[in-house]
Symmetry: C2
Subunit: 394 residues, 2 copies
DNA sequence: GTTACTAATGAAGGACTCCATCACAAGTGA
DNA sequence: TCACTTGTGATGGAGTCCTTCATTAGTAAC
């Protein structure tokens, strides 16, 4: 019943071994044939042929040997991560961030464009264009060098890339983002919810690196979650997973008000800065602020407990704007969870900060590339990027 | 970083193709070489060799050809599902059920032993032995024919097979079930929570067949859940996934009381039969019973909504004792969920009934066999069951 | 009964991929 | 200069898969 091909041809075996070699090579220092042989389990002669093929295809290149060791210096090879590039975009209410990376996921350039929640669609799209253009300018590249654009945005995104609802960017609701961005970039475009990408970033390069089951909690003016299950981003059947915000008993929608409406917030403070006053005062031991934090965490903990009880993750990561005050938030949150949870997950604060979502977008694009490589069925050769011709009808 | 071997040897390719052939053959009618060739993508000559090897290893056998078609009758082959057997056990508070199946998961015999929640450990173990012995007697087999025993039990089970807590079977708490059953059966023993196995059964052979993300809700005197995520049983990092019962806001612990303490329940009814009176009365339109059902579903819906919002499953299955009254429970539950859920999953009632858990145990054992087959690294030959010598020290 | 057609069988030859092995090469250190 | 270490390159062999084609065993029509 719908099982993947699994085995197959001789050429399939070669392909699998080539991919295995790429995996062994990617994300690590240049390696010798012997080292690769040990890592992949292939014999030296076979590996040599595989590496030769990968070199001629442009995936691998030789680097000068090191000197100073015993014996004959070995030839060293490295993955040509600069062969293609990936772009990650974070479309937020107040900022549009872009990052450009190589195929490894190593970020080469980052830019930011300030916007406001009310920025109309056209202007926001232009900001996106400027953010990406800035990354290209910084690196001297063009869009032709970009294989994939991955986008994270606030709001609920369908599997087809349509934003069904966005509280943070009102004009976004109902927008066919995949369509607009697809017309804008002559390559593949992936759209995903921003908290999910943040979760991915934490699981790949953040404080949850290596964990298979991770819950990411975006705490800030808006609440959001992202789930990594069995090492993979979990979207759910209708791409609506993690939307515990909707649960009335969790009271997540109004939870930030506890921090905003605290007496310690100076008169006339804009609402977006209010919470940080409260959190800072709580750190200094102000009783009113501490009480507000307790009420906030009271509400927060219900939803977190629900997620943790359902999934039993290894690690829960606190991210988003308020996570800068994780030292204030984590102890009371931990206390409440310990009272309820059957098994307490590790609680950690994000260290990736504001770049969390762009990094996650990059990682999402890397994953996508991986999937493309591994489901490659196009004959014997490895896949090359789909360079979709932009807007050419005659 | 810890990636599986992936490619490998020539023999690995043959192994993959052999497994692919087994998959194509298993669970379907006897097939001809041409049909298998189409299904696996292998050429006829290769397939012939693979089938020959599998035949000599005892995994496949030839069956008489059919007559009546055009052309030369093709030789037909079938998977020898009777080559080994699997046992599934459901250890409940009031019943111990056992089932015996072939490697296909086709159930050949079932038995049941009545117990009570207070039955001491030794007697319960004896009941387990009798239940399994009954299955063997019904089929004329011995334990030597059984490759794997999979067990589902009420309570929280660690990955090592120790029951840390069981409300349904008090004596079970703290028990090293894997140790006891491992000494009892001379083969591999898998221990799992019963609701999880029920979820698996529904996803494999029940009303959720084919769905990748499934939530199983056991509603009865005790509440429990099982999650299928991406087609696999989800345990969580500490095997504590799905324990939303613990969430105070969900009020699942006391929810059944609404049904038990309804005025329509006749005086002196034992507590285990009370709810069915209420549910039956509700079906007949009794106002007090209907109100009780509404209160019950009120509580139920909070936890269900939490699970659904977190995971966004394709299907939610209602099972357990009360699911016989799914016609009464589902409409109000659906109403409440629709008010909260971002995307409404399909709600269905289990049709597997009391055998749900044993079936799930069988399916769990089949999955385990599959994993063994696919991670087989023992040279070129396919794995054979581990016939652990029972208690032989000299 | 004979002939045409269909579908599967079995065997031969060729191509590809992997492995083990061995002589040789290019360094270091005494 | 010599021993030692480590990597390179080439050869031969084994295993697996594919394509192709003559052959076989049935059915259907005449």
């Amino acid at each position: 019943m719908g099982n993947p091909p699994l085995g197959g041809d001789l050429s399939r075996l070669r392909q699998l071994n080539a991919l295995s070699t790429i995996r062994a090579l990617r994300g690590s220092a240049p390696a010798t044939l012997s080292a690769l042989s040990a890592r992949t389990g292939l014999s030296r002669p076979s590996l040599k042929e595989v590496v030769g093929e990968l070199t001629s295809l442009g995936w691998v290149e030789e680097v000068p040997p090191t000197s100073g060791g015993m014996g004959r210096p070995a030839r060293r090879y490295r993955f040509r991560a600069d062969r293609g590039h990936l772009v990650g975009i974070d479309i937020g209410a107040h900022n549009v961030r872009a990052a450009l990376s190589n195929l490894d996921g190593t970020v080469l350039a980052e830019t930011r464009q300030a916007v406001v929640p009310e920025t109309p669609v056209r202007e926001r799209m232009e900001a996106i264009g400027r953010a990406v253009g800035g990354c290209l300018a910084l690196t001297g590249l063009t869009m032709a060098d970009v294989w994939t654009v991955a986008v994270g945005t606030t709001g609920i995104v369908t599997p087809e890339g349509v934003v069904t609802y966005s509280a943070g960017i009102p004009a976004w609701t109902g927008l066919d983002l995949a369509g607009l961005l697809g017309a804008m970039f002559p390559c593949e475009v992936l759209i995903e919810n921003d908290s999910r990408l943040a979760a991915l970033a934490e699981a790949r390069r953040g404080v949850a690196r290596g964990a298979r089951d991770v819950v990411f909690l975006h705490v800030g003016r808006r609440m959001g979650t992202g789930l990594i299950i069995d090492g993979k981003l979990h979207r759910g059947f209708g791409a609506a997973a993690g939307e515990i915000v909707m649960l009335p008993q969790a009271r997540w929608f109004d939870a930030p008000d506890h921090l905003n409406n605290c007496p310690v917030v100076p008169e006339g403070t804009p609402v977006e800065d209010a919470a940080s006053h409260t959190l800072a005062a709580a750190r200094d031991g102000d009783p009113a602020a501490l009480a507000a934090v307790e009420r906030y965490v009271d509400d927060l903990a219900v939803g977190v407990a629900a997620i943790v009880l359902v999934l039993d993750p290894e690690i829960a990561v606190l991210g988003g704007g308020f996570s800068r005050s994780a030292d204030v938030l984590l102890p009371p949150l931990r206390r409440r969870l310990e009272a309820v949870c059957l098994r307490m997950p590790e609680l950690r604060a994000s260290t990736l900060g504001d770049e969390c979502v762009v990094f996650g977008a990059i990682d999402h694009a890397v994953d996508h590339l991986d999937r493309q490589l591994f489901t490659a069925d196009s004959g014997t050769s490895l896949p090359v990027p789909l360079t979709r011709d932009a807007v050419s009808r005659s």
